[in-house]
Structure formats: C-alpha cells, structure tokens
Symmetry: C2
Amino acid sequence: MRTFAVVGHLAATGNGFTLDDLPGSAGRMDLLCRCVNAALALSHGIRRDAEIHLLLLGPPAPPKEVLLRGDSVRSLSPDERSTAALIRKALALPVGEAFRESTPGILVRRGGLPGLLAGGGYAVLSEEGKDVRGQEALPPGFVLSDHLDFTPEEEGLMTGLPRLSMGPRVLQADQAITVLQNELDRREAGWS
Amino acid sequence: MRTFAVVGHLAATGNGFTLDDLPGSAGRMDLLCRCVNAALALSHGIRRDAEIHLLLLGPPAPPKEVLLRGDSVRSLSPDERSTAALIRKALALPVGEAFRESTPGILVRRGGLPGLLAGGGYAVLSEEGKDVRGQEALPPGFVLSDHLDFTPEEEGLMTGLPRLSMGPRVLQADQAITVLQNELDRREAGWS
C-alpha cells in the first residue's frame, strides 16, 4: 500500500463552500483535489494500491481528516469539481475520533497530523530532502504540505523523519505526488 | 524552449460551454487545463521556458489551436476553472490562420495537428514508446493525446517520429507532462 498525506493549512472543514471557488473560499481545495487525482488515478482506472489522507486545517471545524482509499473508492472522476463535491459530502457528516464512511472508499474523522504520524512509516517530501532516485529503500508513507510551508509546530512533529526531494525545481504538491508515483511504479516493475 | 502539444479530440472550440461542466459539455477541458498547469506551473511561479499548444477538435468550429506561452502569460492560476475561463475567452475571438492574442501570453488561431507537426522537432508520448530515462537526447517538442487514442489519420501524420514512454503504468496526459518536465529539469540541472 502506498500512502500519501497532504496538509491543507487553509482547507475548509465544513460543507459550506461553493464548488465555484475552490481556491478561495474552500482554502485551496483545488490543490487537494489534484493531489487526490495524482495519488489515485491512472489514465483509465484507479490505483487500488494507494490511499491519500487530506488533513484539513481551515475553518470552521479543524482539524479534520478525509481519507480516500483506492481499493474501495468508486466513481472518482479526475476533475477538481467532482472530487471537491465528494469531499464536501464527507465534510457534512458529524465526526468523532473514529472514521465514518461518507461514500464508498471516502472516510472522515476528527484528526490532524499528530495522530497520522503516530502510525509511523512516513517520509517528508521537501525541496531540502535527498534525491528520491538515489534512495535504495523508500518507506510506505509520504507526507507533504499544500502551497504553504509546514509550520514550526508541524516541523517539530516530523523531526528525524527522512526527507525526500523530487527534483531540482520546486513542484506543486500534486506534481510531486505524480513524480513519486512514477518512481514507485518503475521500482515495482523493475524499470530503471 | 520546451514545447508540449495536446490533442483534445472532443474539446470545445467555441465559448458556449459552462465552467461548471468542464468534463462534459466542454469535452474534457478539465484534462487540458491540468495539462496547462503541468506544462507551465511550478510551486511558486511559471515555467518561462515552456509553452503548450492545445489542439481543440470538438464542436462547434474545429480545428482550433490555443497557445499558452510561459514567457509572457500572466495571472495563470493552477485551478482548472480559472484556466478554462482564460481558454474560453480566447475561443470567443474570431480566428484565421494567424495567431491572435486574447490575453497576455494566450493566443488562438484556426489550426490542427498537420500545421503543428510541419514545424518539426516533436516526439510522441505513448505507452508503446521507449523509456524516456534511457534516451540520451530528447527533442524540444512533445505531442500527446487526451484521454482518447490518436486516430489512424493522426497516427499517419506522426509516422517516423520518436516515441517515448514515461513509465510502466499508463498515466493521464497531464501526469505524463509532469513526469517529463521533471526528467527535463533533472537533465538541465545535472541531476541523475
């Protein structure tokens, strides 16, 4: 299983946002939707061996965690608006500490980065990391930030985790996931 | 200059589509918008050394070619809806054989694949191609298809062009551009 987790520092935690303004009123939900696509979608099909955790930290009820599982999600379209509609539906559910399923393969709970990292097995995607191509072994999980840097508090939670860079130019979060998925595909298939 | 060209077989060639249904009524304009982002956008900035040609072949007035130039485009946001709004604005212009500028760095003309390929210098991105990482030299231009295969007529135009594969799993068009941009970044910067 390949696990991705993206911190959405401004991302909406209620279902009150409009699908017509994902960058603004939904707190860069557009970026998170593209991350879902990068983590789970192929040209014609879903990556059944992948999942992505969206850690939503914006108003009105942070923190929330939305989990999209490739092994059970259905009717996932690649466009931002469709994915945002599914996330918004999940955010309409009352939440506690345990995951609740909103639609098949899409779950939501109250939770943030500390709970996620407690499970272990994560590397941090960061422009100051080591080149991913040069690393012999890669962990099963990867955490990255949205368009903003990690906060000092978040950095404190990740002290000691391996850090990986995807290349010499700083990519958008979804682009970094796409490049990493390709690297993992190549290793799995025995390509260089 | 890095040049990308994407054939949008169903993509709208008029400005009558709604931004609320880019996959449907706009003929997978969502995918083309993600390709623009993959070709031109970095985490914080625009790739000034890249351009992307969108070849739009859907109703009502095919073929049209929309060119987005990284060296002169302004106010390009990464979300699909904003990019689609800019493309729609370009499609409102009456067009002939010569490019007309709609907004800074975004141009439109009547034209399709034959005119584009006549300029030379293209490789085709295809799952049956050779692994891009194994190719010593890469051309300056790359052409790829949307979610549909190239037609036999289009394939006929591309006979003899080099074919490149991005990896063992078939990616969405925008994902293929992202992986290729990363490979080009690495070569330019002397990374492995």
